[in-house]
Amino acid sequence: MNPPDCVRTATTVAVDPETAFRVFTEEIDLWWKRGPAHRFGGGREGHLRFESGPGGRLLEVYDEARGDHYEVGKVRVWERGRRLVFEFRALAFEPGQTTEVEVRFEPASGGTRVSLEHRGWGALRADHPARHGLEGEAFASMIGLWWADLLLALGRRARGRG
């Protein structure tokens, strides 16, 4: 089982890592699934776009001319052909609340291994006292391990009852 504060999934794609990275970022609007379950506009038509480079943003743009868009999050790491990290805020999130998505592109037989990790729903705001000085990732993984352990124990207990 995955650590509960972190979801991982991966695929192998039959193109080289440079191409995989370029398709992932430049062509995101072409492959990202459409519809309210996958997009952000709540039924509004928009197109997804990465502003390239660190500090860029992932946007869903509804009206380019009027600057009408939804900011999914900022790009934290932009290593062409290797690694991409961006913030990910769903519509239901509170202001200031965010999660993080990391995508790795690694050469593999037959193309590129693309692994994605979405983490940090348990990571609280940086100023939260519960952090005790832990940096975001350390805090998230600490909480994650704790959850994993807890869920396993509850699962065992549920099975024991049944």
Partner: protein, 118 residues
């Protein structure tokens, strides 16, 4: 998905405090009285009662009358399973969201690159 996210936030917020996480750890073994919990952490009864109130209002624990001497004035705290089930189902949804996205990415990348090579 939105309401599951809110519940999850509640759950995680309640657990964003080390003493409360350890209380939950102890309650995994068996239900316990508030006094027992206060003793276990060497915190004052009012401090423990504040922690228990947070856990209760966020739905992680429930209290009921009981205790070894079946004294109705004694309250015991036990863990509720629902928040943990919600967490699991939320994770399953997030996981399927991303596997669908990566599947779509793979299909698009391979289709468009094949077309370009021709």
């Amino acid at each position: 998905m939105a309401s599951a996210a809110r519940n999850l936030d509640d759950t995680l917020a309640a657990l964003a405090e080390p003493t409360r996480r350890r209380v939950v750890d102890l309650l995994r073994e068996r239900p316990r009285r508030a006094g027992e919990l206060a003793d276990a952490f060497r915190v004052s009864a009012p401090a423990m009662s504040r922690h228990l109130r947070v856990l209760r209002t966020r739905g992680l624990v429930e209290e009921e009358p009981g205790g070894p001497d079946a004294d109705a004035r004694v309250r015991v705290y036990r863990l509720r399973a629902e928040p943990f089930r919600e967490l699991q189902s939320w994770l399953a949804q997030v996981e399927s969201f991303w596997s669908e996205q990566l599947g779509a990415f793979k299909a698009h990348a391979e289709r468009s690159r094949k077309a370009r090579r021709r």
